[in-house]
Amino acid sequence: MRYHSPSTFEDAARIAAAAQGVTRFLAGGTDVLVQLRSGHVLPDDLIDLKKIPGTYDIAQTEDGGWRIGIAVPGAALGAHAGLCKDWPGVVEGMELVGSTQVQGRATLAGNLCNGSPAADSVPGLVAAGATVEITGPEGTRSLPVAEVPVGPGKTALTAGEVISAIVLPPRGDKAGDAYLRFIPRTEMDIAVVGAAVSLRLDGDTIAEARVALGAVAPTVLLVAEAAEAIVGTTLDDSAMDALAAAASAACNPIDDKRGTAAFRIEVAGVMAKRAARIAYDRAKGASA
């Protein structure tokens, strides 16, 4: 294994583009090391991104959004007051990843690029409308987080491309988000179902919404029908039922030891409703 620690994303992209064998970027390493130690993935080239200046920064953008460095660990997101105020759902998704020890290392970009359908931070990012900034051999481009995963363990990044930042849009007024997952234990487990909702209110009425589901399909789903079910409502019982039905209808899950397909479909509706309620209350709180 060759270890590289470039000092710019352009160099990281160049090294990755020139690499012939198995190549991995190293952020927190909480997936890469597990795969390496278990012999699942033995990289020929390992490109450590943590020596690149700025990768530990969280900065507000000119338009009021946030730019998060790719080495920022979950624990640092949770300790950032501004980010927790604007995007509590995104932060709580990342804070569910592993133990405090894992939290000290694990990153959003690593969670996203590892490509697990059950990745806990991804539904929140998708619901938030987050984008990633990608640096590649041909320069930089931007892509919605929703379009990064293309299948289990597979992303839309091409050879030599590396995520150089995660960008959250401006939160604006009267808005809130939330992420919930179902697991059989209370800690340290993989989501059986995850649901994230981000919405904005006009008075008591939902003016905009995005609903994302995790662990119920090969990739995290952005479910437009579920969002439509609550837009224009005050999240009354019939809107809640329509939301649950739309969320369940979008699922295409597997049966495994964590849950049957039928169970996941049912629980997706329940989780979507509960996440919507929390997001709604947060939006009201924020407008008070």
Partner: protein, 165 residues
């Protein structure tokens, strides 16, 4: 190809040369530096037996490649006591029977030191259990572990207040 790095390990500077970039911090400590206090349970981030403090924050030593840690400050269980005087968390684990076989204990203690420094749990047993959930105890000494962390938190709080007064 070899890699050289410098660590501050339990307060002392160490220059290290590695012949292989795949060496984890855990293997470096146990097999190459001769500090076997940090334990290997699962070697994949799940059990917490290998918990150490990296720049003051708790991490799993099995999930960090040594080669990435040039310039880092690391504290292991061997670095807690001051000569024969145990760290308050060590004392509390002994008094509260926070272990049976003791295999998970160095990791539990390092995790507890980290948790107390984070100041997130106070002496609330529920929050202590949550904060310690990355440390598994096969002997299920959880009752004593929680009591030990509670007691250590109180004593360390009292000591800081005493110092300030």
């Amino acid at each position: 190809m070899s890699f050289s790095l410098t660590l501050t390990l339990n307060g002392a500077q160490r220059d290290i040369v590695l012949d292989d970039p795949r060496v984890t911090l855990l293997d470096l400590l146990r097999d190459r530096i001769g500090l076997p206090g940090t334990k290997k349970g699962c070697d994949r981030g799940q059990c917490g037996a290998c918990t150490v403090l990296l720049n003051g924050k708790r991490v799993n030593a099995c999930l960090a490649l040594a080669v990435t840690l040039d310039g880092a400050e690391i504290t292991t269980i061997e670095g807690l006591a001051d000569g024969d005087t145990l760290h308050p968390v060590q004392d509390a684990f002994i008094e509260a029977d926070g272990f049976q076989c003791g295999y998970c204990t160095p990791g539990q203690i390092m995790s507890a030191v980290g948790l107390i420094a984070e100041g997130r749990a106070g002496d609330d047993p529920e929050r202590i259990r949550e904060g310690m959930s990355g440390n598994i105890c096969r002997c299920a000494a959880y009752h004593g572990i929680t009591k030990a962390v509670q007691e250590a938190t109180r004593r360390m709080d009292a000591a800081t207040k005493g110092d300030a007064a």
